[in-house]
Amino acid sequence: MQLLRVFLLRLVTTAVTLVGVAVIVFFVIRVVPGNPIAMMLPPGATEADVAALTALYGLDKPLPAQFLIWAGGVLQGDFGTSITTRQPVLGLVLGRLPATLELSVMALVMAVVIGGVAALTGTRRRGTRVEGAIDIANGMALSVPDFLWGLVLILLFGVLVPVFHISGRVTPSLELPFTTNFYLFESLIRLRFDLWLDIVSHMLMPALALAVPLAAIIGQLLKQSLKETMHLDYVTLARTKGYGENHVILREALRNAVLPTLTLVGVQFTFLIGGTVIIERLFSYEGLGNMAIDAVINRDLPLIQGIVILFAVIFTGVNLIVDLLYAALNPRLRHA
């Protein structure tokens, strides 16, 4: 079965990738200057204090030994203890993960919807001014990176016309009945639409900033692919059957045109997730990315390691999902 083969092969490459990422991040952040222990002690601490604390976190041992201790822990699900907060890294990271996942997925959905509508409209009105306008909008969206879109949105909808929240994940004064950190999801499940609306209006701007460049890529690529598909014989044959333009685009062309776009969207989605680091900072959104920046500033080595490993897991997971989707959508692969 093709899907199973794709899946197993991916599992192996994923394991190799994760080991590589673990090795690289572990050694690189230790080469960068800055002593986390010295930074967390109050001014006036003695050499002896520093040495004692360094030993406590095992940072006095030789690097290879440190790595083995850490890697051994990771294999048992123990990612160590954050130096700044003194809490287990795994708990901290998993606690923030839902916020970032929700933001990324919302951005992805927005990008697919905006880009998809742009591509379909551009194809429907190909050769007219509407298509020209869509091309120009796509070009503009693409030539500005996500964090600049973030700044633009903050200025527009936070300062000039303050209609959306531009800071945080939820209004702090609200009473939250949630048992998980998937606020957006849980508020829906609990039918708390008041909370859901508040959360959405916090997420909308950062998600849009993340979505704009990806929407442009999807719009451009899918439109190109759709327009090429529209010339193919089976589309022409469908026209002779009596079908109109809309039907032909949606039923004959779209599915085949999506395939080449899909792989690229997968890669671009991992870039989008990477973009959350800066966007979350910009919008004071309490997700993994924001935590990552704090961890780097504080030289919180175990926490940085934990976050990077988690990001790597997410990236490979996204790639896996894309490969499976591709196989599922393509009858050639499904039945091979």
């Binding site: 050769g127 193919l232 014989d233 089976y234 022409t236 044959l237 469908a238 026209r239 002779t240 059957k241 009596g242 079908y243 109109g244 039907h247 004959e252 599915r255 085949n256 959508l329 393509n330 009858p331 050639r332 039945h335």
Partner: protein, 288 residues
């Protein structure tokens, strides 16, 4: 009365030269008309005009295409599409590209019946099974659930033929339906089309390069040169004595079934020059 009647149809490249020059031809109900001419003469363009699938780069500059007495060119686009879909069909040239790779065969045969003609799904599916059996496809039940890539080129052409006959159209346009196939299957497919046409009594506009094929399956033919009909004749009369010098030369350039190895005469330059002069004279005649 003719089911398809094309009158003085002119098509040109937008802002460019004419591609069809005042083409007139008729296909009577149940008749098979061959459409021959060299590559680029405009054979496919005529078929596309009839089926309403002219490329966006060309425009109709005059004439009429009457299907069952109704001028298609005078109808609003949606109505034209529906009328064509309900009464005419295409057997395409290349079976490898004419089926949607991501849709099952069954849906590609029944879609017109259900969506355009309003049949019930069950009835359409029964019809599809019946047609696959008629085009001699083994295990129709399984094939209906297949995707195109699971089937050979010959099988796919049979499916496209079945699909074309599905709605019992009054007219089928077959645009070189065998040229993309293996020589070994070409004959079978040709026989299949001729047999189906005879059984269903469908009018057929048969586009081909091959006068040998015309002599076997057609009752009448139109010879096209540079978008102009240079001869319109009954097949029997044509093969006995072609009237136009160009079509006579074309006939002389065609291998004989009785003697395929006999030396062939290419169309002489003088004949080409004469027919070109004729085309130019027609253009000067004012229409285009």
């Amino acid at each position: 009365m003719s089911f398809l009647s094309i009158r003085e149809l002119s098509v040109r490249l937008k802002g460019g030269p004419p591609l069809l020059r005042r083409v007139s031809l008729d296909v009577a109900a149940g008749e098979v008309r061959g459409l021959v001419g060299e590559s680029g003469a405009g054979k496919s363009m005529i078929g596309k005009a009839v089926l309403g699938i002219l490329p966006g780069s060309v425009e109709v500059t005059g004439g009429e295409i009457r299907l069952d007495g109704v001028d298609l060119l005078a109808l609003p686009p949606a109505e034209r599409r529906r009328r064509i879909g309900a009464t005419a069909a295409l057997i395409p040239q290349d079976p490898l590209t004419a089926l949607n790779p991501s849709r099952r065969i069954g849906g590609q045969i029944t879609d017109r019946l259900v969506d355009i003609l309003g049949w019930e799904r069950g009835r359409a599916e029964a019809r599809a099974r019946e047609l696959l059996a008629e085009v001699q496809i083994p295990e129709p039940e399984r094939v209906l659930r297949n995707y195109p890539h699971e089937l050979s080129g010959g099988m796919r052409q049979r499916i496209l033929i079945a699909s074309a006959f599905a709605a019992e159209p009054k007219l089928i346009v077959a645009d070189e339906p065998t040229t993309a196939l293996d020589v070994t299957v070409q004959k079978q497919i040709l026989k299949l089309i001729a047999g189906m046409q005879a059984r269903h009594g469908t009018a057929l506009l048969f586009v081909t390069h091959d006068l040998g094929v015309v002599s076997k399956v057609c009752q009448s033919l139109s010879v096209l040169y540079a978008g102009m009909v240079v001869e319109d004749a009954r097949v029997r009369d044509f093969f006995a004595a072609p009237k136009h010098a160009y079509s006579a030369a074309l006939l002389a350039a065609t291998p004989k079934y009785t003697d395929p190895m006999a030396s062939l005469t290419p169309v002489p330059d003088a004949v080409i020059e004469a027919v070109r002069a004729e085309v130019a004279a027609a253009d000067r005649g004012g229409h285009g």
